[in-house]
Symmetry: C2
DNA sequence: ACCTGAACACCGTTCAAGT
DNA sequence: ACCTGAACACCGTTCAAGT
């Protein structure tokens, strides 16, 4: 039997599925290679490093956020980014840790900028940073709870998270309204 | 010569210094043990896992944020948290990734809550999440730039970061003012 | 063009045993 | 109370060689 044949796209697709199954700490190049019926070294034909592979995975995670469109309301755009991150285990951490080589993150930021009216780049960036921080912390708590290693005074984090997210998005909507009075 | 003797405090102090020198990806239990003139297994007398050690380091990173005090203005508290994170290489990532076992993070959140007037827990949490996301992204870009692996259309990230941080803090100050009209 | 096979220099963690 | 020594089951990455 000849060895399996892959391209960047098939590797990323499998990596994304494996990430969702096992989480970021267990997503190793060796385990991914096994999943692809290939030797670990074969992955380095498609990607120069694990970091580069994870950046492509991050891009894929954000693929569902809409194109920049000023007609979409700010909270809706913010929610679509959060939901894209939540759709994959450790999604926020992957995007945060590969942000320096931004691919899909750029489009997410542009979508926020458009929803803010187009002029306030610092506000768009700050809102994106809030969404990432919020979602990473939420996924962190979700995982801690799933393995039972949770601080004793904490209840289920998911319900309160909605109030916190709304508070954050409202803060930026307020800011935007004051800076650009209609 | 008898083996070196340590306690939790001395281990954390050395870990914090080593983190600042080499960064989170190179902060291994083995390297830390070498720095302490001890075998790697000795660290497991003081900490049950690397995760638990990093949580103690995170606590130490946030040790400089002031006690909760309603007389301190919100931007000042926000800035003291950001500066505490920036004072150590990869500080934001360490705090974010060990947040589930929150130690020092709790006090930072309480300081924000007090500065907001005491009543708006969701707003305090959201602001803390913004500060963490913002600072992790900033440190990410700082590191990418230091090794020259930066997106070609990006200039030095540090100056703009101040505008983005101010935009974020202003957003929450606005929110707080509207919710609790004086 | 894409993969194998073997190697290099590492990891976190456990556990019996030492002092 | 705190550490050693040895082991277990892993890592990411490189590179000559295969097809």
């Amino acid at each position: 039997m000849p060895p399996a044949r892959h391209d960047r796209h098939s590797v990323v697709t499998t990596a994304l599925r494996l990430l969702d199954e096992v989480g970021l700490p267990d997503l190793s190049m060796r385990r991914l290679a096994t999943e692809l019926d290939v030797q670990p070294s074969a992955l380095y034909w498609h990607f120069a490093s694990k970091q580069e592979l994870l950046a492509a995975v991050a891009d894929s995670i954000l693929r569902t956020v809409p194109e920049p469109d000023a007609r979409i309301a700010l909270p809706e755009v913010a929610r679509s980014i959060r939901d894209a991150l939540l759709a994959c285990r450790d999604g926020a951490e992957v995007v945060l840790s590969t942000y320096a080589l931004r691919l899909g993150a750029r489009r997410a930021q542009d979508a926020l900028l458009a929803a803010l009216g187009g002029g306030d780049q610092p506000a768009a960036d700050a809102l994106f940073e809030f969404i990432l921080g919020h979602t990473m912390l939420l996924q962190q708590r979700m995982h801690a709870q799933s393995i039972g290693a949770v601080a004793p005074d904490d209840a289920d984090p998911t319900p309160d998270a909605e109030a916190v997210f709304t508070a954050g998005v409202d803060g930026f909507a307020e800011l935007s309204a004051r800076r650009r009075p209609s």
